[in-house]
């Protein structure tokens, strides 16, 4: 089961991630595909996701501001409407009292029956009145109409009586009074014909006022209630204090206009607080209208919308990430496969080149052997001829000489075959100490005949203090064979080839192979180490010789450079380290 899972996972996993191409290292154009993959993903993620996230944040903020503005606007409207309702409630009743004292004479007002009739009419007309009483200038109640028997009570020391004397009108806070029932007193001062003042006082039912306020409460997250200017709650609030308790929020500062602001309660919950100081045209009042909206409750729709947006953005980010990762993996894998295919071709070509080099050497060797073999053949044939055609050669010096020639020719063949075997052995991968002059001689031995035939002069100059270098002799030999072949192909008969080697600093050697042949145009120089680049006409060149040479030099941790001028010649310079570790080959 685990194996199957591993197998499926392995087939999905990109090839380049396995890093099983170390043997192709030098031929791959890019070495770290994981890094390319990671950079690609990072670049695409930044390009694709940053704008999306920035736009989302901006969108959040705009929506938030828009929702806040809408909430404040609604709260302002609600506060303003409730303020008008409360103001109207009080103003209407103050006006009713004023009409009463202006229209009805004091004597009639102090008539209890008449006063009861007036109370009944006021209740019918306006409602919300509990009782009605006339207070003489002495503070004594002169007449009373209502459910309680309060006639004869002395109010001279009561605050409302004193205030009403001063300001002619009075609206009290909500208080319990003698009856221990929450109520509001409104009073108006007037004068009798003899000049003495009296006060017409009415007790208002707070239930009516509370109902009026409650009718403006919309939803479970809004509260409307009254406080006095000291912050004492006048009509009960669910969250901010019972009646006659101190409100949990700070008392707002005085303002003639309706105000709305953001605030936080003790628990840190966001609130929208609207307030208005209630003042009628007739008299000022002690009330402050409070409109409190709990933002969290009001924001539920927005929270739901934000949650939906979050899910959508999260899903989009996930899809984008998956698409980016899959696309990057696919593209990098394609690139890797193409590169790997090229590298495999190059590695194969290197192998073919080695075989071709050996084949070339074999052909050269065959030629070299054929000449002594021909001599053996002719000499032995001549000896045979002598025995067949003449019979007097028992101890003939000439005959002995010819037999020596045969033996010499055999020795020549032996030398050549030993060189061939030695050369072939040197293609095994092995780090060893190599003397450059020996390697160069080994390479040139098979070009001697062609050099002589084409009258090409080959000068070798290896400085005497040249240290032996530790390297792979076979690869170095193949590099030199390729470059000497290249030079032989580039020069005309009678040209000159220089091979020089000298130390390059303390830890490197430099080998130069120069010819005075046809040279190459400058525009071709950057391309000559590219695979399949050739200037040879027809099918004479594969375009791989110098590319493989380049790869081999890199394998030996060296550098190769070329300089060339048309009709002047070409110089290849190889720089190799004096010491090379076996593990890096």
């Amino acid at each position: 089961m685990m194996n199957r899972i591993r197998k499926i996972f392995g087939s999905i996993w990109p090839e380049f991630y396995r890093q099983d191409d170390k043997h192709l290292g030098h031929y791959l154009t890019f070495t770290d595909y994981r890094k390319i993959w990671a950079i690609g993903i990072l670049a695409l993620v930044v390009t694709a996701l940053v704008p999306l996230l920035v736009v989302t944040v901006i969108h959040y903020r705009l929506l938030q501001k828009s929702v806040d503005s809408e909430l404040i606007l609604r709260a302002e409207r609600l506060t303003s409407n409730a303020r008008r309702a409360v103001t109207f409630f009080l103003e209407e009743r103050l006006n009713a009292l004023r009409f009463t004292v202006n229209e009805i004479a004091y004597d009639q007002l102090t008539d209890t029956d008449h006063l009861a009739e007036i109370l009944r009419n006021l209740k019918l007309g306006f409602g919300g009145l509990t009782d009605l009483s006339v207070i003489a200038h002495t503070g004594t109640q002169a007449a009373y109409a209502g459910p309680f028997n309060l006639e004869g009570r002395d109010y001279s020391n009561q605050r409302w009586f004193i205030e009403c004397q001063k300001h002619h009108f009075y609206v009290s806070e909500i208080f319990r009074g003698y009856r221990d029932v929450p109520h509001i007193i409104i009073a108006i001062k007037s004068f009798r014909p003899d000049g003495a003042f009296f006060i017409l006082r009415a007790t208002l039912d707070t239930d009516r006022l509370i109902q009026t306020l409650a009718s403006y409460e919309t939803g479970a997250h809004a509260e409307i209630f009254l406080i006095n200017r000291s912050g004492i709650v006048q009509t009960s609030s669910k969250h901010h204090g019972e009646i006659f308790q101190k409100m949990t929020l700070p008392v707002p500062s005085y303002s003639q206009r309706t105000h709305v602001a953001m605030a936080e309660d003790d628990l840190g919950e966001s609130l929208i607080v609207g307030y208005a100081f209630i003042s009628t045209q007739i008299a000022d009042t002690p009330f402050i209208l409070m409109v409190i909206k709990h933002k969290a409750g009001m924001m539920q729709v927005w929270q739901q919308l934000r949650s939906n947006i979050n899910w959508f953005v999260g899903f989009a980010v996930l899809i984008i990430l998956v698409v980016i990762i899959l696309t990057c993996s696919y593209m990098v894998n394609l690139l890797y496969r193409a590169d790997k295919s090229k590298a495999q071709t190059m590695a194969l070509m290197e192998q073919s080149n080695q075989l071709a080099t050996i084949g070339q050497l074999a052909a050269g060797v065959a030629h070299e052997i054929n000449n002594p073999l021909a001599l053996i053949n002719e000499t032995a044939g001549y000896v045979k001829d002598l025995f067949v055609l003449k019979e007097q050669y028992q101890r003939d010096d000439e005959l002995i000489g010819y037999i020596d020639d045969v033996l010499d020719a055999v020795e020549r063949c032996g030398t050549i075959t030993r060189q061939l075997l030695g050369f072939a052995r040197k293609f095994e991968v092995k780090i060893q100490k190599v003397k450059l002059n020996e390697v160069i001689s080994d390479v040139l031995v098979f070009h001697n005949k062609e050099a002589a035939y084409r009258n090409i002069k080959v000068y070798v100059d290896v400085t005497e203090d040249m240290p032996p270098i530790e390297t792979d002799r076979g690869k170095l030999q193949q590099i030199l064979v390729n470059l000497v072949n290249n030079a032989f192909q580039a020069v005309d008969n009678g040209c000159i080839l220089y091979i020089e080697a000298s130390p390059d600093g303390a830890d490197k050697v430099r080998i130069t192979i120069s010819d005075n042949g046809c040279g190459m145009p400058e525009e071709n120089l950057p391309k000559i180490f590219e695979p399949f680049f050739t200037t040879k006409e027809g099918n004479q060149g594969t375009g791989l010789g110098l590319a493989i040479t380049y790869g081999l030099v890199k394998k030996l941790h060296g550098e190769i450079a070329v300089k060339s001028k048309v009709q002047e010649g070409t110089t290849f310079t190889i720089t190799l380290p004096i010491r090379i570790g076996e593990e890096i080959i």
Binding site: E378, T379, G381, Y382, D405
Partner: protein, 116 residues
């Protein structure tokens, strides 16, 4: 039948010349192209046996120069390279190519054929 043999392998040329002489062929042998041209300038030959690869004037060039001196001269090339490709790069007018080491009887047979 008068034949000129040219090969830079001196001992080979000497041996081959002696064997041809033993078989009744009138043969001159030299080791360089220049000597061959000099020889052909003074004497007339029915055929020339030339090594392809020689220092200085090679076999192919020598063939051209000898033909200038005597257009009727028949040419047989000897080569150390045994492959067919080497033969194909040579002169079209050459009578024959023989790969070293050669069979003496085959050479004499070809000489007789080309000279008629």
């Amino acid at each position: 039948m008068k034949v000129l043999l040219v090969d830079d392998e001196k001992k080979f040329a000497t041996m081959l010349a002696k064997r041809l002489a033993l078989r009744g062929i009138d043969i001159d042998y030299v080791y360089t192209g220049d000597d061959a041209i000099a020889k052909a300038g003074t004497q007339s030959y029915d055929a020339a046996v030339l090594d392809v690869k020689m220092p200085g004037i090679g076999g192919i060039e020598l063939e051209r120069k000898l033909k200038e001196l005597d257009p009727c001269l028949k040419i047989i090339f000897l080569t150390g390279h045994g492959s067919k490709t080497d033969f194909e790069t040579g002169s079209a007018e050459a009578a024959c190519y023989l790969a070293k080491p050669i069979q003496i009887d085959e050479l004499i047979k070809i000489l007789r054929e080309v000279i008629g």
